[in-house]
Structure formats: C-alpha cells, structure tokens
C-alpha cells in the first residue's frame, strides 16, 4: 500500500484555525463549558499546548526581522513517524502503525498508561482525564478508509493542507521550499522527510524550523529505552531467581530443622 502524508504549507496558512476546530468537531472533542475558564496566552494562539481534548493546535510565533515582520504559523499535531516511539512502548496495542504510515490510536484499546505521552519526542499524545485514555491525531484513519480527506485537510480554506501519496507530498514540499527561497525566504525548509525515519505529516517552514516550533533532529528520549529494557529485564530477573530458588528447593529436600538442638543448647548452658 502506498504511504500517504499530509503536507502543511505554513506559507499558505492563514492561521484561521479551521483545522483546529474541525478536528474537534469530527472527533467529538469538547472544550470547556465553563465561563472564562480558558487561559489567555498573550498572543493569537489558543492555548499553550495540545491537551487531552485538543489534537491539533495552530501555533503563532512573531518577531521583527530585517525584511519586516516574521509571523510564523505552525501546525502542532502528531507527525505520524515511520519509527514511532509511542508505538514501540505502547503495551496494549492501542497505538499501531498502519500500512499507509498512519500511527493509529484506537482509544478503545488504550489502557491509559501514559507511556506514549512520556516518550514522544514532540510531546504530542496527551492524557485525556475525562475518559482516561491517551488522545492524539489519528490522521482520520476512519475518514481516509472511507475515501475522504482527513478532516483538517478538507476544511482548510486556504489550501495550506493537502493529503496524498507521501512521495508526491515530499516532491511538492521541495518545490514549494525552492519557490520560497527564490522569493527571498532564505530560511525556508521542509520538515519531516527524514526525521524519525520519515514522517507522514510534512511541513514547509517558511521562516525555518525553529520559528514554526519544529524540533530539529528529534530523537526518542532515553526514557523510551528504559521502558523497552525493563519489561524483559524484569521478566528475566524474576525467572532467573525463581530458577535458582527451585534448585535450592530441590537441594534442600529432606531437610528437617534440628529443633532438638534448642534443648541441647539449653542443656549446654
């Protein structure tokens, strides 16, 4: 099966947050029903980070530069890595990799252990307190299976998001980066082609990765190694000790504690 990917073109994004809201709409995700309970971030960004009820967040970063203002928009969500750390540590099979590259989250299988939350280099999966499971972008595998575009892609009014075979997405992304460089955006680069084994959400970063909130050279955290190690290590340790003790048990067959010795000792006194 061909691998598919999303291309996010930050140079076409008008940061309308249509994707952010449509993601919630399609996936039945709530926002607070309280009055004035949402935090003000001091910018146009809705909230500081993704949360259990938010799988996609448009980021805003601005600074004055020589050529004018660099107002960098970023799309923060799961990148659907080829080498997904979250899948490797997920004990329940809730996280899995589909043939088309999607890192699927089946929340019905999620046991809420939060390993994925802890190991994702992008800190994407978030624990959803109300239902006790992890929450992250599924690349709308339900929709793509049914022949529709992911909800965020379809809803993008400015066509900054597109979805299709990963090779096409990479090619389109590279062309776009070159166009931007020609137009004077020297720092433009493509994110996701090789990171984490190659990601299935790629981004054209108009002002360079950092400005748009993309982590350069992401790596799985060491914690992930500990998790990978501890399961076999514990099993081996327990089995090893049990084996040793079995030998001890067998060797000690027929042993009777010499309780009489008590009296003997006494008599010695």
């Amino acid at each position: 099966m061909t691998e598919n990917a999303i291309l996010y073109d930050s140079s076409k994004c008008s940061a309308c947050k249509g994707c952010q809201v449509q993601c919630k709409q399609w996936n039945n995700l709530p926002s607070s029903l309280g009055k004035d309970t949402n935090e003000f971030t001091g910018s146009y960004q809705s909230m500081a980070d993704l949360n259990g009820d938010t799988r996609l967040l448009i980021g805003f970063d601005e600074k004055a530069a020589d050529g004018g203002i660099e107002w960098a928009f970023g799309r923060r969500s799961c990148f659907h890595c080829t080498d997904p750390t979250c899948v490797s540590v997920c004990p329940s099979g809730a996280l899995s990799k589909l043939d088309d590259g999607t890192v699927r989250l089946d929340s019905s299988k999620c046991i809420g252990c939060k390993y994925c939350t802890a190991v994702c280099p992008f800190e994407v999966p978030k624990y959803r307190a109300s239902s006790g499971v992890s929450n992250k972008c599924t690349l709308c595998d339900d929709r793509t299976t049914a022949g529709r575009e992911p909800a965020c892609v379809q809803t993008c009014p400015a066509a900054a998001l597109s979805y299709g075979p990963r090779e096409d997405v990479i090619a389109a992304g590279k062309v776009r980066v070159e166009e931007l460089k020609t137009a004077g955006f020297d720092k433009a680069e493509l994110y996701g082609e090789t990171e984490m084994g190659g990601m299935h959400v790629l981004a054209v970063a108009k002002f360079g990765l950092e400005a748009h909130g993309y982590k350069r050279n992401p790596k799985a955290p060491t914690a992930a190694m500990i998790f990978d190690l501890m399961r076999p290590l514990t099993a081996l340790g327990v089995a090893g000790i049990a084996a040793v003790l079995s030998v001890s048990f067998l060797a000690s067959r027929g042993y009777e504690r010499p309780d009489a010795a008590v009296d003997a000792t006494k008599e010695e006194n």
């Binding site: 809201v21 039945n28 339900d142 022949g147 096409d168």
Partner: protein
C-alpha cells in the same frame, strides 16, 4: 493529489438519505472497503446549508441521525469553498450542540434560548411565558405604541407613519425573512427600519 472528491450529495428533496452503502458505491472502486458500523456517518440524513458567519457563502453539509445532529463539514462539491470551512464555519455544529467536557456526550448547547421570557418593568430577572402570551403581549404593545403615536397626515400630505417603533435586523436572517421584517414593519408604518449593513 489524493482522493477524488465525490458527488456524495444528491438532492432529491429537502433532505435525503445516505447510507454507508450509498457512500461506498459513490466512490471509486479502489476505495471500496467494508464499511465499519463505527463509521460516524452511518445512516445519516444529509442536507446542504450555507455557513452562517461571513459572507463567503460556503457550502456546508449537515448530517443528522434520527433528528439529532451528528456532523457538520464543508460541502466538497461547492464551487466556492470546495469542502473548506474556517474555524467559525467548522463550529456551526456548536450553535446547536456541544460536547460535554465531563462526560463527552453530545448535548444541546446549554446557552441556547429555549423558551419565551419576559422581564417586567423594574424586575431583576426573567420570567418564562408561553408563546401565545408572548405574541399577544408583544402585539398589544406594538398596537398601543403605534396607535398613540401614529401620524396619518402632515401639512396635507398622507404620511401614514409611526415613528415610535424601531426595528433592527436582520443580516442574520434568510432573505425571505428579511423581506418579511421590512414588509411587516412598513405595514405598521414604521420608518426606523435598520439592520447591520448600516454599522
């Protein structure tokens, strides 16, 4: 790139039925997969509407099951927005229903007004009234104010106007309703008929 857009909307009445099977037959065969009963839009009625926010006129598909709202997304066949909707457009669902942030259940937006109310002179709160009483009382007040302040003639010119009542709205209404707002207003002799285009 990617998936071919489908003609998933066949209007053959104000509302029409799409089943999972219909959706599948409308797609290219390469995508024909067994439809999961978990599919969000299984057995929904789809109707088309136009977004209520800006004046772009974006096509929107509303899916409902058993009279209850299921999904609202852009109309991929619509030539203006081609399936797209911005944050406001994507939130049209929320005008009717929201998801409870504790239980996750879909509920009617708790802020929606559901009953006629009146606030009496000097009162500090609303009281609920029936529609019948509301319409009757409002009509009585319109009539009283109109009758007491009506000018039929001035300086030999028939003016037939009531300057004592103002009508505001409505750019939020449909054309036919807007037409009726001004027709009823002018039928009462009103001259202060205004709406959002003026501000």
């Amino acid at each position: 790139m990617g998936v071919t857009r489908r003609d998933f909307l066949r209007l053959s009445g104000a509302a029409f039925m799409t089943t999972a099977i219909y959706e599948l037959t409308a797609q290219s065969s390469a995508l024909a997969v067994e439809m999961d009963q978990e599919w969000k839009l299984v057995n929904v009625d789809e109707t088309s509407t136009i977004c209520c926010y800006c004046s772009g006129g974006c096509g929107t598909i509303v899916s409902a099951r058993d009279g209850e709202l299921v999904n609202i997304e852009g109309d991929v066949d619509h030539p203006i927005n081609r399936g797209g909707l911005c944050s406001k457009g994507s939130s049209q669902f929320g005008v009717n229903s929201v998801y409870d942030d504790k239980t996750g259940d879909r509920i009617i937006n708790p802020n929606r007004l559901q009953k006629p109310k009146v606030r009496r002179a000097g009162a500090t709160d609303w009281e609920e009234i029936s529609w019948e009483q509301a319409i009757d009382e409002i009509a009585a007040r319109i009539k009283k104010t109109r009758d007491e302040n009506y000018e039929a003639e001035l300086d030999g010119v028939t003016v037939n106007r009531c300057e004592a009542i103002a009508s505001f709205g409505a750019a939020a209404l449909d054309n036919e309703e807007a037409y009726i707002v001004q027709k009823l207003g002018r039928g009462l002799g009103l001259t202060y008929i205004e709406h959002q285009a003026r501000i």
